[in-house]
Amino acid sequence: CLQRPSSEPLMHGEVQSPQYPQPYPPNLQEQWDLSVPEGYQIRLTFTHLDIEASPGCYHDALIVLYDGKVVGRFCGSENSADGHHPGHEPIISPDNRFTLIFQSDKNNPERHQNVGFSAQYQAIDVDECSAPDPGDGSGPLCDQICLNTLGSYLCSCHHGYELRSDQRTCLLSCGGGIFDEPEGHLFSPGYPNPPPYAVSCQYIISVESGFTVSLNFSDLFYIESVDTDEGPSCLHHWLEVTIPDKEPMKLCGTKSPGLIDTNSNTVKLDYHTDDEGMSNGWSLDYSTHRVRCPIPDKVAKGRVTPMLTEYFYRDYIFVRCNQGYKLMMDGHEIESFSTMCQHNGQWHLTLPECHIIDCGEPEPLLNGGVTFISGVDNQYLSVVQYHCDEPFYYLLGGLNVSFICEADRQWRSNQDPLLRPTCLPVCGRPTKHLSSFQR
């Protein structure tokens, strides 16, 4: 009779002999395979054990096995002189498994009824980190730092190192990768000390388009160079700076490159040393600046705002026309104009022009007319004067009314802007009078 294995290992449980706490029957052979989750051990504690005692627990016994090997063979009862009682100390499994076998022979002493045993087990976490170096050359469980967790462990590395893909050993960190913050600090592994062995590190500075990267190397700069017939050469150790659309530049020697304006939003740095020689490395601060756009041209009869000495990426400018002028773009009038400095250093729209407005033809006057006094083509500030067909009509409100083309494209009178000129008939005044000289 085998205990059916459960699908998921339990964290704790109880095991009892058959019919416990009644006396166990003879001729028994019963087995329990205990297991807890991996990363845990089993702590087995007997709450009661009363098994017929015999020398070496030969007749009836509870046998505890691990991996087929007997860990303990128990019988008797607490305080009995014979048998082998486990006492109150728990039994710990080497890993997450234990096997218990309870057996009884065919004879049971009639004068004494043994009840068997009752035991509890629970999972206890294994401290993998305390495991000794196996000494087989494979090294300790973790190269540098071991962190025990429930049921498992984690390896970690000291600052300046990074965990290898085996999740166990540590590697000197290049500190490489992609840097996309607007400013930052980069340095070669171990800087200002030389790295322990050959390194091949790549650093990519990539910020938003519309910004340019400037590299500012610190004074302490040392990358081994080799003297050749053609001068110093970055033969074995180098730092290669790659800017898009430009030839890569290999740096070495003891003189810091200082400030390098890349005029690009991406820069790639490849640092290489071999197993030999000595390079202390380098360190730099990088910063970013917005792309500059050209100073906009002047707009005749208008103005560009704001007027700045320099314009950068994402700066907006507006164009406004002087009073009496309108914004024109591609032959069409526009209500307003603004343009933005783009990431490529160009304004996204060309500047418009300011054209003088016109009020259109002044309204004709019934039984009258309109005369241009000054101005051109009904343009801004042109002046017209209305008159009526005299002597048959006269202008309501005055002899002559002047209208000026205003900035709102309306012809307006300086006398009463709301009064539309009107010609009223003249009554009772013939052009010829009856003459009678005869008395």
């Binding site: 067909d389 009554c427 009772g428």
Partner: protein, 249 residues
């Protein structure tokens, strides 16, 4: 016009010639859409108002023979609502307005006459001018004038006018009544007067450089006869009706 003269061109530019069902009448231009005339020109004694298509209006002419080359202005008729003259005996409220369908443009030959201003008064013996294409005299005969004629006539005191009418009534009972909406103009010795065919034309007074419509040729007992005067509708009494009619139409 009895005892008058032919009017030179452009001297009486408000004069209108009406032809209504063949009958001749006069009128005066008072606005670019409005002609003023006598009610009896457009409303018969039976109370029938002339239809729009029977009213023919001519302006800007001095010679009726030139009428055929002039445009005819279609118009609608507005008679004073209190004009009622079934027996030829009551010319009270003898005033009507004709509204032109299209406005006219004024020029030397066509100009409006002024309506009375508040300051304008009817002062007896003031010389006025009446014109028309009506009956005139040539020797001993009365003939219809084909050329515009005019005559200067003084305003007659109301009492003098009333006495004249009363005196005539003693001889002829059918003479129309004289009301406060009328005034008389003429000379006691006769020989100068308006006459048949002049009805509706203006009797105008001159004041401060302008002519204004003081009266409308309305009626009279014979023409130019000694002791009789021409009777005219007193336009100043109808300013409210004129303005109301023009505004409402």
């Amino acid at each position: 016009i009895i005892g008058g003269d032919e009017a030179p061109e452009h001297t009486i530019p408000w004069q209108v010639l009406l032809n209504i069902d063949g009958g001749r009448g006069g009128g005066m231009v008072i606005a670019d859409r409005w002609i003023m005339t006598a009610a009896h020109n457009v409303k018969t004694h039976e109370g029938i108002i002339a239809s729009n298509d029977t009213v023919r209006i001519y302006m800007g002419l001095n010679d009726v023979k030139a009428l055929s080359v002039l445009p005819v202005y279609p118009a609608s008729v507005h008679v004073h609502p209190e004009y009622n003259n079934p027996n030829h005996a009551n010319y009270n409220n003898d005033i009507a307005l004709l509204k032109l369908q299209e406005p006219i443009t004024f020029q030397a030959s066509i100009m409006p006459l002024c309506l009375p201003a508040e300051s304008d008064t009817y002062v007896p013996d003031t010389m006025g001018l009446v014109s028309g294409f009506g009956v005139t005299d040539e020797g001993k005969r009365r003939i219809l004038a084909n050329k515009l004629k005019y005559v200067q006539l003084p305003l007659v005191e109301d009492e003098t006018c009333q006495n004249s009418v009363t005196s005539l009534k003693r001889k002829r009972a059918s003479i129309p009544i004289l009301t406060s909406n009328m005034f008389c103009a003429g000379i006691p010795e006769g020989g100068k007067d308006s006459c048949q065919g002049d009805s509706g034309s203006g009797y105008v007074l001159y004041d401060n450089g302008r002519f204004w419509a003081a009266g409308i040729v309305s009626w009279g007992v014979e023409c130019g006869k000694q002791g009789t005067y021409g009777v005219y509708t007193r336009v100043a009494n109808y300013l409210d009706w004129i303005k109301k009619t023009m505004q409402e139409n």
